[in-house]
Symmetry: C2
Subunit: 197 residues, 2 copies
């Protein structure tokens, strides 16, 4: 049984005509870049233009700005979760954990600008929020478990506590040295987590 179910994002794998799927994917791609660059207020017509489709096509695939934002947001969360697995394969457990935390914090920082729109989205569609945080928690939990089992870090750490610690890192105010600072803080956190030898 070589049932190679594509592990693509979400259950949007409903059969679409080839051109439709291409356009849809391209729109998501372009939108993700545009949102990252100019915030969620970016003109949808710009996005359509950059994706070389008519505005009508954009609206057929994503009936409202919120739909599009949601899809992009979901995709990014999923890729963040996926990254946990990949990192775990390529690096030692503690390095994987550290790198993943850096990415997580960086990702959240990206969302600063979106804060308002995302808040609306979250309150009006709470499944999005719960699924999203489930994914993240799962990823962190598994990294934590692996590293704990292998003896790289202490094994008495609660996922929730670590998430809380991270939240205090990503909520530090924006500034030029933001990234360095957050990396230093994560380093500090890691030092605390690593088992003494």
């Amino acid at each position: 049984m070589a049932s190679a179910e594509p592990k693509t994002t979400s259950p949007a794998s409903t059969k679409l005509r080839a051109d439709a799927r291409r356009n849809r994917d391209r729109l998501i791609e372009v939108a993700a870049a545009a949102f990252a660059e100019n915030g969620v207020e970016t003109s949808l017509e710009d996005i359509a233009r950059q994706a070389c489709v008519g505005i009508g096509t954009l609206y057929r695939h994503f009936p409202s700005r919120e739909h599009l934002v949601e899809v992009v947001y979901r995709r990014e969360l999923e890729s963040l979760a996926t990254a946990a697995t990949e990192l775990a394969q390529k690096h030692s457990p503690d390095v994987a954990l550290e790198e993943w935390m850096r990415r997580f914090v960086g990702y959240i920082a990206t969302k600063r600008g979106m804060a308002n729109s995302l808040r609306i989205l979250m309150t009006s569609n709470s499944s999005l929020f719960s699924e999203g945080s489930g994914l993240i928690r799962g990823a962190l939990e598994s990294l934590l478990k692996t590293a704990g089992d292998k003896g790289c870090i202490r094994s008495d750490i609660e996922t929730s506590d670590l998430l809380h610690a991270l939240s205090s890192i990503y909520s530090i105010p924006e500034s030029p040295e933001w990234r360095e600072r957050s990396h230093r803080l994560i380093g500090l956190l890691m030092d605390g987590l690593r088992t003494r030898r």
Copy 2:
């Protein structure tokens, strides 16, 4: 110097040219009606048109939709608070209290449609929220105290408890008999409040 500070709404009493003040007032009037009728999403150009001013004038007075909504909202809260005093003068304390609660519940119900916009407003401008609830609480408290002092109702009632009771009334779902039902519930509440003789 006869400085007769007018006790009008808010500190918007900054000296304006006569025509400007007229237009501003008319805009607020029209906007209040329009929001009540069609929700806060009403076209601002419609509002300007109904007030017989150019759209430019509207925007000069209220730089964004939120500003306008806020002013209207504030004004309504203030008039609700004022109504408490007036009712207290014209009716017996218990009747005043009952009538005021009816108006309060009715007013909140009006705001159902605005929920989303108001929520945004509240979170981005929390002073609005705190001042607003302060006004309301103050009004209720004074009605309660008067009625308690005069022996019309029990005097062991906390304002917060009554507010809570009211919240359970105004959050009953929309329906044709909404008003009757809320009035019945307020009546019930009043029966509980009134002192036995």
